[in-house]
């Protein structure tokens, strides 16, 4: 548990052995190993076949992707029978630009965007990437289509119960189709 490798070693600093102790460093880490739940495993298996799946609530018709196995609004469970395949084109409904702070463990160095998508025909995905699109050009209303990782390189190692639709090993990202932007009325009530 104890991580003795300190991120910014103070070992070289001269220490007065008679000085009062005002604090102590204690570096630790916790490791977790979680089993992938069945509905997320099915989502991951579909990604390997270049398919995007979700569960459609039998009561309110909302589509959840990745599937959760239930609709939290209607409190009904969903199963394989509620599975639908979604289209791989859609509209950027919202986005955020992350400016990385170089805290311990941060691997990103440049600002990057994460976007939420509303897919044609229904369904939403969050935490998606638009590789190659400068962050200042990212905007709501952009029409995009999926870019799958090529055969042989595609993997779902990063898909977990907690990845919320982020699947960078399988989906390289989304690229603008070049079509005119969608009218806000098409997505303005679906900004997540």
């Amino acid at each position: 548990m104890t991580d003795t490798k300190q991120p910014d070693s103070k070992q070289d600093e001269a220490v007065d052995p008679n000085a009062p102790i005002t604090g102590m460093d204690y570096f630790m880490k916790l490791e977790y190993h979680e089993l992938i739940c069945p509905v997320v495993r099915e989502f991951a298996d579909a990604l390997m076949e270049k398919r995007l799946i979700g569960h459609k609530c039998p009561k309110c018709s909302l589509i959840y992707s990745p599937p959760r196995g239930y609709c939290p609004i209607c409190t009904v469970q969903t199963t394989k029978a509620d599975e639908i395949e979604m289209q791989t084109r859609g509209i950027v409904t919202n986005y955020t630009v992350v400016t990385p702070v170089q805290y311990y463990g941060q691997e990103e160095t440049e600002p990057f965007a994460k976007v939420s998508l509303q897919l044609d025909g229904g369904g939403n995905l969050s935490l998606q990437d638009l590789p190659g699109v400068p962050v200042e050009q990212v905007r709501s209303g952009m029409r995009v289509e999926i870019v799958w990782a090529p055969d042989g390189e595609r993997h779902v190692d990063d898909v977990t119960n907690r990845s919320w639709g982020s699947a960078e090993g399988a989906i390289r990202g989304w690229k603008p189709t070049g079509e005119p932007d969608a009218d806000p009325s098409e997505y303005s009530d679906k900004v997540f």
């Binding site: 104890t2 977790y32 089993l35 069945p38 959760r68 239930y70 939290p72 409190t75």
Partner: protein, 351 residues
């Protein structure tokens, strides 16, 4: 003045060593079953309170995800305790005392399987003197058992007998994880895990959940033919630093038991959160429970230990004794912290 509150519905998941379901996924049917058994409409419930610990599953705001199993849209009135669900029940009991609402849902859930409990728990101890030592529940319980053995308050044979009886009681309990017909003599031949504790003295590592629906008196009578009344409930806490208390005693249990009224009349059954075998004897002594009281007919925490749900599960099992097995007066006990640091005691009664 205290208003009468009753348990009108309860449900549990099985206790698994490692569930492949997420916490909201295995909570979902448990909460639905408790609500169905209570016979209330989900949207009628006036208050919801949950007990869980994000450190267990290692997910920030995991307790918010758990609300997906409740149905929190349109918004509901809810709260959370970073404690066993039994303390969520206490908060809901207090909330119902206000008298403006008549039903409450409480639940506790935990997934211990993804992490390593021996690494996680030392983080709740004193960060200067105990966390760096890796003071985990098994080590501290072993110190407590050693102190009790040295004081002549228990024997290793008695500990093995408690474990064997718990495992036998758990046979047929669909929620139990450890059960079987073991000879205490054979158990005593097993090696120590952390002396003086052997495997049978330890609880299993478990994933699981429990949910309970509470109602005020008039509502409970309308909903249930056999409401389970909470006649007394109290929780007390001993000092955090285990080195500064006598581990062979549990003053907080004694006081909580007195305040809850355990000794005021005959007790038929007690469901105790004795997570380690020796703690059962200590709890019985502090609560004044004699040989005529049936202890942990479910198998108790030695048979199933879904942390953050195990104490609330004692309430569910205690309520079952009254509602399904015709018992009249049953004690439920939950504990928090290490080596019985904090204790909650309730007296449940049938009509």
């Amino acid at each position: 003045m205290v208003n009468d509150i009753a348990i009108v519905g309860y449900a549990q998941s099985p206790s698994w060593r490692a569930s492949e379901l997420t916490e909201p996924q295995f909570l979902f049917p448990v909460i639905s079953e408790a609500i169905e058994r209570a016979g209330v409409e989900r949207r009628e419930i006036g208050f919801t309170c949950a007990g869980s610990c994000d450190y267990l599953s290692g997910q920030t705001f995991a307790f918010v995800m758990n609300l997906e199993a409740v149905g929190a849209w349109p918004p509901i009135s809810e709260s959370h305790v970073e404690m066993d669900g039994a303390w969520a029940l206490y908060e809901a009991w207090v909330r119902l005392q206000h008298g403006d609402i008549d039903t409450a849902l409480v639940f506790g859930s935990g997934k211990s399987s993804p992490g390593k409990p021996a690494e996680i728990y030392p983080l709740q101890m004193d960060p200067y003197t105990l966390t760096p030592l890796g003071a985990d529940p098994v080590s501290l319980a072993a110190l407590q058992a050693r102190a009790m053995l040295d004081a002549g308050k228990i024997t290793e044979r008695e500990m093995a007998e408690i474990a064997a009886r718990s495992r036998k009681s758990a046979i047929g309990n669909p929620y139990a994880q450890v059960s079987g017909d073991d000879d205490p003599e054979a158990l005593l031949k097993e090696p120590y895990v952390t002396a003086p504790l052997r495997r049978h003295d330890l609880p299993p590592i478990s994933d699981g959940a429990c949910a309970i629906v509470l109602a005020t008196a008039d509502k409970a009578k309308a909903l249930s033919k056999r409401p389970v009344w909470i006649r007394g409930i109290d929780h007390r806490i001993d000092i955090h630093q285990p080195g500064m208390r006598d581990l062979t005693e549990s003053p907080s249990t004694r006081l909580a038991g007195k305040k809850a009224g355990v000794g005021d009349a005959k007790v038929d059954v007690a469901e105790l959160s004795a997570t380690f075998s020796h703690q059962e004897k200590l709890l019985c002594e502090e609560l004044g429970l004699g040989d005529d009281v049936e202890i942990n007919p479910s198998g108790g925490a030695l048979a199933a230990n879904p942390v953050m749900a195990v104490g609330l599960a004692r309430f569910a099992e205690a309520a079952r004794q009254i509602a399904e097995h015709g018992k009249h007066r049953v004690v439920a006990h939950a504990t928090s912290g290490q080596a019985l640091q904090q204790n909650l005691v309730a007296v449940l009664e049938g009509d």
